[in-house]
């Protein structure tokens, strides 16, 4: 069975500091995608960053980067220079593609950026 685990229900970080959100997953597939989605308070969920499993290089989007450890099935999100607007629920997700086109989500990490 495919699963996604986020073991940190809540985290807090000071503005301008760096924070890392953890995610582990389990799959028997060799080809898959991993995502981090952000859900700000009362706003829609948006994609933060995507990683293809076949790529060894870690994905980066501005202040957001991932540490993808394929053998360990770990996919953490690092947010550098945290801003107040980064306050949100963050979800890790796994996608295999194929006939089902379904994403499997973790339970989320609520990140609060403190001024």
């Amino acid at each position: 069975a495919q699963t996604v685990t986020q073991s940190q229900p809540e985290m807090s970080v000071q503005e301008a500091e760096t924070v890392t959100l953890s995610c582990t997953y389990d799959t028997s597939e060799s080809n898959y995608y991993l995502f981090w989605y952000k859900q700000p308070p009362s706003r829609q969920m948006i994609l933060v960053i995507r990683q293809e499993a076949y790529k060894q290089q870690n994905a980066t989007e501005n202040r957001f980067s991932v540490n993808f450890q394929k053998a360990a099935k770990s996919f953490s999100l690092k947010i550098s220079d945290s801003q107040l607007g980064d306050t949100a629920m963050y979800f890790c997700a796994l996608f295999h593609g194929g006939a089902t086109n379904k994403l499997i989500f973790g339970t989320g990490t609520l990140l609060a950026v403190q001024p």
Binding site: Q44, R50, F95, N101, K102, L103, F105, T107
Partner: protein, 113 residues
């Protein structure tokens, strides 16, 4: 920009009522999804559709049905609402050939009394 619009942000219904949640997307996406979001449980897939009039059960379809009569519209139906269906409902869409990026609506928070 892709826009996914959910008809109601907040609804309050009584036990036993029939509830319709509507979702419309404007990017001609083949795939549409209904998720339920609950604290500590993340997002759980209720139903999805990969074409007009096609539907597939997700992980928690019990108590729900869906309708997709037009490509841009995907409706979630609660035939007889119950208090345990109080939740946030999220609609999402994605193109047919997808790498998994979902485009979400703003969500519909349903309270069943």
């Amino acid at each position: 920009d892709v826009k996914v619009t959910q008809s109601s942000r907040y609804l309050v219904k009584r036990t036993g009522e029939k509830v319709f949640l509507e979702c419309v997307q404007d990017m001609d996406h083949e795939n549409m999804f209904w998720y339920r979001q609950d604290p500590g449980l993340g997002l759980r897939l209720i139903y999805f559709s990969y074409d007009v009039k096609m539907k597939e059960k997700g992980d928690i379809p019990e108590g729900y049905s869906v309708s997709r009569e037009k490509k841009e519209r995907f409706s979630l139906i609660l035939e007889s609402a119950s208090t345990n269906q109080t939740s946030m409902y999220l609609c999402a869409s994605t193109p047919g050939q997808t790498t998994g990026e979902l485009f979400f609506g703003e969500g519909s928070r349903l309270t069943v009394l």
